[in-house]
């Protein structure tokens, strides 16, 4: 069937900000879908409030709306654009749920808009746990025993008919949100209550637990002709009970015989038909009993998902793109297979390599959070690696993670009685694979390990083989080791770094030895068909094979762009956005662009973003190997965040041509001590600072700088382990407990600029001229990480003379650091004086936001500058004028960790949203609108602030009164506000006994919480309040400035009508 001609305009819904369970993969699927639809000549309207996405680029859609993803706003956009159809299947759970709301509320009917990709009915069946269960049973497919409940009472009575442990799974949530296992009644109460709260429809499924069974996923596609194909099978290394998003996963399935696999395939096809997903891709999860093969259907997601993004990268089959084309009526046989060009898309990819995905967690940023992995996903990113064997792939994946572990092996002390780490084996946790490996060395048997971990013996055996080879390596050294053994080590995936540890030598020595023996990797292609047909797209991975390399380097002028590696807090999608733009720009200039990255959730690893894709770890070893083969004219390290930047020096030492700002100047900016001297030399103000190698020294430094202080270990990046010390006891505590200072690990101590206003500036320089891209004024005071503060563009309170000072200092710095490309400067303004906090000689988190707001593609311009063009040639001669007001607000994952959500100098947010309007209040309101905890326009506000903030809170409290809110406060604050004549209802602190504020929050009596931390280590009282707010989705602010704009936002919300704007209306 050809494409539909009755459709002209299609609205694509994005997935919004990056949150746990819904990350960059949906930018990948969304931008692919948009591209596919435009290719077909449809007018594409896009809505997504995440500015750091390729899909929100002007090139992706005819009109882009960076607007909140809520029904009332969508209705406005629909009314304005009158699309014929909505594609809700490429924007994750967000888009899917939004589509359901639009359908239920009759908006779709009113405007005659059709859902394509998945019908309302199909979505309901797939996402409503009960409907799904019933549908499966009707289709004769087995599901876990259990049933749906709408209240705690129901749950408790149902529980009597089930046997513990019982699994609780809410409807219409993602990433296992609100799900959990209950081993006894009181646990059940807790999990069910939370599950009911988190489910948008307040339903949870209680079912028999099959924890410990094997977990599988199939990625399935169906077209209008009812043709169904399986794109990829995925086997979870970790058993049922650990969310697939938190599991190490492997493609293809490894331990199913053809009989079992085909049965699963048959079931998947029946699921598709039963649920009635007419076109597009779906993800179906199965549980299999390892003892008898009994199989159960766990769930289906009637949309492209995290796993389908992974499957696309793992197979080379572009699921989202094809899904979009099927949605407009094509059948699979009418679409070509992009990779072979000659064969159609109506086939099932077959692999001749193994793919391993490992999640990346950030628990270290959430002290106190339990690291046990459960049915609720908590990883913030992932890496994927390809190898010819599982052993090779898993080793590559581990070193791609950038967690200081260049692979399995090389541990100092080997022998470790399994019993000692039994708990680490039985309790699923981020480091479990390392524990298993050590337990094997310690003599644990595969049977024991399988019993303790629930991991299939086949996988454990692979790890055992790696361990056995390590034993053979350990009795050798670099001189004695034979070429054969060394080669086998490489075939087993051992990195040079790990071998260096084993041989007690340096990585470069291992590399030298390797090259001396002529042992270097070959590159094989990902071609969807195991070489049966010729691959037209160069999508490669490294492996150690004797016979043949398919790298086929060209003689063209070429440049390598280093990606950012796995997403993690502090280094997210913004950097992938910049890498993609670098690729686009350099292709425009006629370069062959070679991308290196290992993150499957990215657009940069889409095989048509660059000319050539190497899906490889971003380690020195792996990058050098590629450089040796490709011999590029330049390597770009500025766009992928800290990851490539940290490689710059070492690459330069190996004679690799680095484009843009030189490694020397990068070091000058990155090394805080050297940089301080630069600032002094330029007579630029900066916080006084010192360094301490011992507690005594720290106190001495503190003496002459004076409290409060900002302290951080010298070796960390991304604001890790930074803290503010208000007095000696803070400092002592920090140094003794937090970082354990030592001569090897000194702490940097800065004067903490109190009540200072913070600015973020992004600029681009060609070595001669420097142009400011934008100046962002933070709403929160300095002391809250730039990535966690709300920013306003253009600045709204700063005087012109300060701004001019900012401009000239920025240009001064660019010149002094010989910046070629992008530069980010963070400033603080205290009592009208300007201080420089730091310079990042690279693309920053705020570049995409500024580009969206101003329409100036900073990253592209920077890339061209690095290629030798001047800003004048590129026509960027002055700072872009900003139309309207643009606010960037962070999104936090506290609801997943349930720890104190206060903000500080260490970044905690996973993503951001953008709001654009005429006023700050309106723009800010837009950023808050689509958050899970919606801003109230009426009700009760609870206020409890520290003494320093009390004066500042008065006007805020007044304004809230004026807006009709009731005020509630803890005693101190209550008295204070009463004293200025404000009616306030006092309420107990938690410590003062029931009924206290905690009860009030739980009872839903509070609509907004304003609570500023009392400076020092937080009192458990405050903590209880804030965690309560997070748990029960009550909006909260922890800073006075935040409260101030919040009031503005509420005011504009009450005034009704938020206007929607297409992005270009601001350009």
């Amino acid at each position: 069937m050809p494409k539909r001609t009755d459709l002209k305009k299609i609205l694509v819904i994005g997935s919004g900000p990056i949150v746990i369970g819904q990350a960059g993969e949906f930018d990948y699927s969304g931008s692919q879908a948009c591209k596919a639809l435009r290719e077909e000549g449809y007018t594409v309207i896009l809505v997504n409030n995440n500015p750091a996405t390729i899909m929100t680029d002007p090139e992706s859609a005819s009109r882009v709306y960076i607007e909140p993803l809520v029904p009332e706003i969508l209705e406005k956009i629909i009314a304005r654009e009158r699309p014929d159809a909505i594609l809700p299947t490429v924007g994750g759970q967000t888009a899917l749920n939004l589509a359901v709301e639009l359908a239920r509320s009759g908006i779709l009917a009113r405007y005659g808009v059709e859902l394509i990709g998945a019908s309302h009915r199909a979505i309901e069946i797939a996402e409503d746990r009960l409907l799904f269960k019933e549908t499966m049973e009707r289709a004769g497919l087995a599901v876990p025993r259990g049933s749906l409940v709408r209240s705690l009472e129901e749950a408790l009575s149902l529980a009597k008919t089930l046997t513990y442990p019982i699994l609780v799974r809410p409807s219409f949530t993602l990433g296992g949100e609100g799900s959990g296992v209950a081993h006894k009644e009181d646990e059940l109460r807790a999990v069910v209550q939370r599950g009911l709260e988190l489910s948008p429809v307040h339903q949870v499924l209680l079912e028999e637990s099959v924890i410990g069974w094997k977990e599988f996923e199939l990625e399935v596609m169906r077209d209008r002709g009812d043709n169904v194909v399986i794109i990829c099978s995925i086997e979870n290394f970790d058993p049922m009970g650990i969310h697939t998003g938190d599991s190490i996963t492997v493609a293809p399935a490894q331990t199913l015989s053809d009989r079992e696999y085909q049965k699963m395939r048959d079931w998947a096809i029946r699921v598709m038909r039963a649920v009635g997903v007419e076109t597009g891709g779906s993800n179906i999860q199965f549980a299999v009993n390892p003892l008898d093969g009994r199989m159960l259907v766990i769930e289906m997601n009637p949309r492209v998902s995290r796993s389908s993004a992974l499957a696309s990268k793992a197979t080379g089959f572009p699921i989202a793109k094809i899904a979009a084309k099927l949605a407009v009526g094509y059948t699979l046989d009418e679409l070509p297979n992009d990779i072979t060009k000659k064969t159609p898309a109506s086939f099932e990819p077959t692999l001749d390599y193994v793919v391993v995905k490992i999640p990346r967690w950030n628990f270290e940023k959430f002290p106190g959070a339990k690291t046990t992995l459960t049915t609720q996903m908590r990883s913030v990113g992932e890496v994927m690696a390809l190898g010819r064997t599982f052993k090779e792939a898993v080793q590559k994946a581990i070193r791609s993670l950038e967690i200081g572990q260049p692979g399995l092996g090389g541990d100092d002390e080997l022998l470790l009685a399994p019993e000692l780490i039994r708990d680490y084996l039985e309790r699923p946790n981020p480091k479990r694979i390392f524990s298993i490996y050590r337990a094997i060395h310690g003599g644990a048997s595969i049977e024991e390990l399988a019993r303790w971990t629930g991991i299939d013996p086949w996988f454990l055996t692979q790890l055992e083989e790696i361990a056995h080879l390590e034993r053979r390596l350990r009795v050798q050294n670099l001189e004695s080791v034979s070429a054969e053994l060394l080669l086998q080590a490489k075939r087993f995936g051992f990195s040079d770094a790990v071998l260096a540890k084993i041989f007690r030598t340096s990585e470069s020595a291992v590399r030298a030895k390797r090259l001396e023996h002529g042992i270097c990797p070959v590159y094989k292609r990902v071609d969807t068909c195991a070489a049966e047909f010729e691959a037209q797209t160069p999508y490669l991975y490294s492996t150690y094979e004797a016979d043949e390399s398919e790298a086929a380097p060209t003689q063209k002028k070429k440049v390598v762009v280093l990606g950012g590696g796995p997403y993690r807090i502090g280094q997210g999608i913004e950097f992938d956005y910049c890498c993609c733009h670098a690729a686009f720009a350099l292709r425009e200039l006629g370069y062959e662009v070679i991308m290196i990255n290992c993150n499957p959730e990215t657009v940069s690893t889409d095989y048509d973003t660059s000319d050539k894709l190497y899906f490889e770890p971003l380690t020195l070893e792996d990058v050098l190997n590629i450089v040796d083969v490709e011999r590029p004219d330049g390597v770009i390290v500025q766009f992928g965040g800290q990851t490539p930047l940290n490689l710059a020096g070492a690459l330069r030492e190996h004679g690799v041509p680095i484009w843009g700002t030189s490694p020397e100047d990068i070091d000058l900016a990155e090394d805080r001590e050297k940089f301080a001297l630069v600032l002094d030399e330029l007579e630029i103000k900066h916080p006084r600072s010192g360094i301490a190698f011992s507690v005594e020294e720290a106190f001495r430094v503190a003496e002459d700088i004076g409290f409060p202080l900002l302290v951080r270990p010298s070796y960390v990046l991304g604001g890790r382990a930074m803290a503010i010390c208000y007095d000696k006891s803070d400092l002592a505590h920090y140094i003794e407990e937090a970082v354990r200072v030592s001569p090897a690990q000194p702490v940097l101590i800065d004067e903490f600029l109190q009540d200072a206003l913070e600015l973020d500036v992004d600029a681009v320089s060609d070595g001669q001229d420097c142009v400011i891209g934008g100046i962002l004024e933070h709403i929160e005071r300095a002391g809250i990480h730039s990535g966690d503060s709300c920013c306003v563009l253009p600045p709204w309170t700063l005087s012109e003379e300060i701004l001019d000072q900012v401009r000239s200092v920025t240009k001064q710095l660019a010149r002094r650091l010989h910046v070629v490309g992008l530069m980010n400067v963070q400033y603080a303004v205290q009592n009208g004086k300007l201080y420089v906090l730091e310079v990042n000689p690279r693309a920053s988190r705020t570049v995409p936001f500024i580009s969206k707001a101003t329409g100036v593609p900073l990253a592209k311009i920077a890339a061209k500058v690095m290629a030798g063009m001047t800003l004048t040639e590129l026509g960027l001669c002055e700072e872009p004028k900003v139309k309207g007001v643009h606010v960037k607000a962070p999104v936090f994952p506290f609801d997943r960790f349930l720890i104190d959500p206060i903000l500080g100098p260490e970044m905690k947010s996973t993503g951001e949203v953008m709001g654009s309007a005429e006023t700050v209040g309106e723009a800010f309101a837009k950023t808050q609108l689509s958050l899970k905890s919606r801003l109230p326009t009426e009700g009760t506000v609870f206020i409890s602030v520290n003494d320093r903030d009390k004066p500042a809170i008065i006007p805020i409290a007044r304004a809230l009164r004026a807006l009709g809110f009731t005020l509630m406060a803890t005693r101190g604050t209550a008295q204070f506000l009463r004293a200025v004549g404000l009616p306030v209802r006092p309420i107990n602190k938690v410590s003062e006994g029931h009924p206290h504020i905690g009860d009030a929050i739980r009872a839903g009596e509070i609509q907004l919480v304003i609570n500023t931390p009392s400076g020092k280590r937080a009192h458990h009282d405050e903590v209880a309040i804030r965690i309560g707010a997070v748990k029960h989705r009550v909006p909260y602010v922890t800073t006075v400035e935040g409260a101030r704009v919040l009031v503005e936002a509420i005011r504009s919300l009450k005034s009704g009508l938020l206007r929607v704007y297409a992005l270009e209306e601001f350009h």
Partner: protein, 371 residues
């Protein structure tokens, strides 16, 4: 150090992991990711050296159920990595031991992708496989003087010598149709007989060299010409027999793989050798009558062309447009080049057996309607 030497002089090295010895055969590759035991025991692979493109083989071991005949038929097995340990509740023995016990030369640690690409470029060719560190030139020489696939009649080796009845398997006979199907065994896979046995009350398997008369004396309601190894063109007797069976107009005939080719040749089509064949479980076949696409299991190195006017084309391969099935315009005769019985592979085409039984139940109707 084991060696594979190809007739064009190309050498691939690996490690011996099965029985020891030296032998020659046609080197082909299979792109299926599962089903190695079915492949090893599929008589259609008789005399061939099979390279598996998926690197890990033996993960789930071998068992007594997933066999397509009494013993393995491939003569050499080339893989990237053989699992040291298998894991599956049905697994009974590891693959390496199985290869030893059935005296199959296995070679692992081979760059199977490079080998596959070579065959894709140069076409399937003869090779000589040695589990020893033999002299490559000698092996090349041996490969060159080995018989080609078209010079040796493998059907004689794989076909049963005595007729036998299929016991029926799990399904109760009441729930099966009261028809008698005769399977002409050119190297039939058990799954074909199983599929028939699940539907027909009586299934008789007869040797390939049986005459048409002998076959018809069994009073069949339907005749199935099975899959099998080698080049159809050299099976003159079988083609003649097929011709007689067609002309007899006694009952519906269903051809699968080699059976499809034999029927085609009997009806006047031509067969030719594909460059490197279709061997895998992911081949898209389009049914031209319904426009439905089926993902199918393939194992053939030859294909039909120039179909006579008496038949109409019903299935094509969407990858290369080759003929995958036809039916007779007048008679209840149809055939497919691929494997509806799957094993290994997707079950999308099982319905063809239902179709065959329907025809067997009321052939006259179809003759009538066809006229």
């Amino acid at each position: 150090m084991a060696i594979l030497a190809l007739e064009d002089g190309k050498i691939f090295r690996g490690r011996a992991c099965g029985a020891h010895g030296v032998l020659c055969g046609e080197v082909v590759f299979n792109t299926g990711m599962t089903g190695y035991q079915e492949i090893l025991t599929d008589p259609s692979y008789a005399g061939q050296i099979v390279c598996m493109t998926y690197p890990h083989m033996g993960n789930y071991g071998v068992n007594s159920e997933d066999v397509e005949s009494a013993r393995p038929w491939v003569s050499g097995f080339i893989v990237r990595e053989l699992s040291q340990r298998f894991s599956n509740w049905r697994g009974q023995m590891d693959l390496e031991r199985y290869l030893h016990e059935h005296n199959i030369i296995g070679v692992c640690e081979v760059d199977t992708r490079a080998l596959t690409r070579h065959i894709r470029e140069k076409g399937a060719m003869r090779g000589c496989l040695s589990s020893f560190d033999s002299d490559p030139d000698e092996l090349i020489a041996r490969a060159r003087c080995a018989p080609t696939i078209s010079e040796y009649n493998w059907v004689h080796e794989v076909s049963c010598t005595e007729p036998y009845e299929w016991a029926g398997g799990e399904i109760k006979s009441e729930s099966r149709h009261d028809v008698h199907i005769v399977v002409v065994d050119f190297g039939v896979k058990r799954s074909i007989v199983r599929q028939l046995g699940a539907r027909a009350r009586r299934v008789t398997v007869v040797p390939a060299f049986w005459s048409a008369e002998a076959i018809l004396d069994l009073q069949p309601d339907g005749i199935l010409l099975s899959n099998g190894p080698g080049d159809p063109a050299i099976l003159r007797d079988a083609i003649a027999t097929a011709r007689k069976l067609i002309d007899a107009e006694r009952c519906p005939i269903f051809g699968i793989c080699l059976g499809h080719q034999i029927l085609g040749l009997a009806l006047g089509a031509r067969a030719y050798k594909l460059k490197f064949g279709h061997r895998g479980a992911n081949q898209p076949v389009k049914n031209l009558l319904t426009n439905r696409i089926e993902i199918t299991s393939h194992n053939h190195g030859f294909a039909l062309t120039d179909l006579p006017s008496a038949v109409e084309l019903t299935h094509i391969n969407l990858n290369d447009g080759s003929i995958e099935g036809f039916r007779h315009k007048r008679l209840p005769i149809f055939a497919v080049q691929y494997h509806p019985e799957a094993s290994p592979g997707p079950h999308d085409a099982h319905h063809l057996f239902d179709r065959f039984i329907e025809l067997a139940l009321a052939p006259s109707a179809h003759y009538a309607q066809a006229h």
